[in-house]
């Protein structure tokens, strides 16, 4: 038995952190033919935290995230959202349940404006006959709301009516993150949000992720970038061999400690208790 399952079996561990569990996965299994991608993986996310997910290629990191965001259906195991069991048949199901995912490949419509991208699929209609009968858009209100919202997240973009393709990579990622944060009711999942960005732009997006958490939304952050993970994560979920190896406390360990757990150089049962986050 791994230390984490012992921790979960111990009710005292829950009292140590009073923040409620928003998203939970228990014993998720996913097989692709002969290959077992997830072999009984667990996951938890508490209110108001940034949970980083790290792991080597093939550790089951991306399969876990796909299961949480509805992109794949697990063969067995359960996913709980606010304590309620949920089943996602598609990313749209997850979205309806309040889980927004920012995909790595910049999920924006490049030729459309920032305001249009922020409201895509959730446009505000005019509150009059034209709006009710013909679906006429309230463009002024959407523009106004976009400006207020982007200011709140401290994203410094001058005009909301410019096409997204005129923005830098970091700004585009900012639009995708802002979009997700605006509509997520429970959780935002971000898949490698800083991967394609330079240092300055990467830091801008990290700051944005912090702003999203401080507004009360818990964030699941998948990243290969250890410095970024240690800079903003509250806890670190380490995926290994299709399961969870540990939840680490980034304040108590160094990056090489995390890498040791990730690669298996440090066996889960040998991990010192003070490395673990509760």
């Amino acid at each position: 038995m791994s230390p984490m399952t012992e921790l979960e079996a111990n009710p005292h561990s829950l009292t140590q952190d009073a923040r409620p569990l928003v998203l939970q996965a228990k014993g998720i299994v996913k097989r692709y033919g002969q290959v077992t991608a997830l072999d009984g993986a667990d996951f938890e996310l508490r209110a108001g935290e940034i949970m980083a997910v790290i792991g080597d290629n093939g550790a089951g990191k991306s399969s876990l995230i796909k299961a949480l965001s509805g992109a794949i259906e697990p063969d067995s195991g359960e996913i709980l959202l606010d304590g309620q069991a949920v089943q996602f048949k598609s990313p749209i199901d997850a979205r309806r349940a309040g889980i927004e995912t920012v995909y790595q490949d910049l999920a924006v419509a490049p030729a459309m404006t920032i305001a249009e991208n922020l409201f895509l699929g959730r446009e505000i209609r005019r509150d009059n006959l034209l709006g009710h009968w013909f679906g006429a858009l309230d463009k002024k209100r959407m523009l106004k709301d976009s400006i207020a919202y982007m200011q709140e997240l401290k994203i410094g973009i001058r005009s909301m009516s410019q096409a997204v393709e005129t923005l830098s990579g970091g700004q585009r990622q900012g639009v995708a993150v802002a979009r997700a944060a605006a509509f997520a009711r429970h959780v935002v999942i971000m898949d490698e949000p800083t991967a394609a960005l330079g240092v300055k732009e990467g830091n801008m997006v990290l700051e944005l992720i912090r702003n999203v958490r401080d507004r009360g939304l818990p964030v699941v952050l998948i990243s290969h970038n250890m410095p970024h993970v240690f800079e903003i994560a509250d806890r670190i979920h380490v995926a290994r061999l299709g399961r969870r190896a540990a939840i680490l406390n980034p304040k108590a360990i160094t990056m090489s400690d995390a890498v040791a757990v990730m690669t298996g150089a440090m066996k889960p049962e040998d991990i010192p208790a003070h490395w673990l986050a509760n």
Binding site: I92, A109, A136, L137
Partner: protein, 319 residues
């Protein structure tokens, strides 16, 4: 608030309009008859069929598809609506409705093959183009349908505006452009068409039913070809099994000349009207100059390649 500079149309979107002005300027020097009200009324009447097909074609190209069957489906619609009126003595309104149902049905088939079977629109419509052509010839036995009830050709009638005769069909075409422009610009369903053309996967993940959007676009396009068929019948006074052959490529040419990107997601539908006018002005002007129709086809071909090349280069330049 956007600054006044951002609210101005970009140079790129003014390109088609400038091209139209230059073409008009050139032809008015070449022929005295060109710049007259009567001639422009004629151009508009010649343009109305291509213009209406181009509305449907624009919708499809905005979703990053293409419809090669447009002209042939229009010809089938024209033959069906005239032949059922003649064979069964149906009321013109019912006959026209049957014609619309046939063209919209072809749109539905195109749309289902693109969304359900996931075939490229190019291949699907290459197939339905030939099917529609064959059905047109079979059903009409390659005979022109004449002696139509007066109700079927009402839209070909004209009214006077000052010295100029204007066809009702022209007014219908302009109204359809205004409506579709407002729809595409100001409504959620209109913007979703652009979103599908821009990034279909991202659009699907926002919860927009992208397949339903595509299906709607193909059916509406089919309906536009039906209306174009009615205009063609009204203008010529016959159901012509050989109609639509020049219109097929002229409509695609009009959309591309009007600045809508063949890569999808970019363009303004009014541009297609200007594109159709450019095609019409070239055909009319070259005819007035006495240039053989073979050269007109040659020049249209060069125009298309120029327009697509401009689109490609401007997209690269914008990056």
């Amino acid at each position: 608030m956007p600054s006044w500079k951002e609210q101005l149309p970009s140079i790129g979107s003014l390109g088609p309009f400038m091209a139209l002005l230059i073409a008009c300027g050139f032809f008015s020097f070449q022929s005295e008859q060109f710049l007259t009200g009567a001639n422009f009324s004629l151009i508009l009447q010649q343009v109305m069929v291509v213009g209406l097909i181009a509305i449907g074609q624009t919708l499809i190209i905005l979703t990053a598809g293409i419809d090669l069957s447009c002209g042939m489906v229009m010809a089938l619609g024209g033959v069906v609506m005239t032949k059922v009126a003649q064979d069964y003595g149906l009321h013109p309104v019912i006959a026209i409705g049957i014609g619309f149902a046939v063209t919209a049905g072809f749109g539905l088939i195109n749309g289902l093959l693109v969304t359900r079977v996931k075939l490229p629109s190019f291949i699907v419509t290459l197939g339905t183009m030939n099917i529609a052509f064959a059905l047109t010839q079979l059903y009409s036995q390659s005979q022109t349908i004449t002696d139509l009830p007066a109700g079927m050709t009402l839209l070909g009638n004209t009214f006077s505006l000052g010295q100029t005769q204007i066809a009702y069909g022209t007014v219908l075409m302009l109204a359809m452009y205004a409506l579709s422009w407002l729809w595409l610009r100001d409504t959620a369903s209109g913007r979703h068409i652009y979103a599908v053309g821009n990034n279909p996967e991202a659009t699907r993940l926002t919860g927009i039913p992208t397949h339903r959007v595509l299906l709607m676009v193909y059916v509406l396009a089919g309906l536009c070809y039906g209306i174009a068929a009615l205009l063609s019948v009204s203008r010529t006074g016959v159901g012509d099994p050989n109609a639509g052959q020049t219109e097929n490529l002229d409509a695609i040419t009009a959309v591309v000349l009007g600045g809508t990107s063949l890569f999808g997601g970019r363009g303004i539908i009014i541009g297609s009207l200007i594109g159709a006018m450019i095609v019409g002005v070239f055909r009319n002007g070259l005819t007035l100059m006495g240039v053989s129709s073979v050269y007109q086809i040659l020049i249209t071909g060069i125009l298309v390649i120029l327009a697509v090349a401009t689109d490609q280069l401007s997209r690269k330049g914008g990056r």
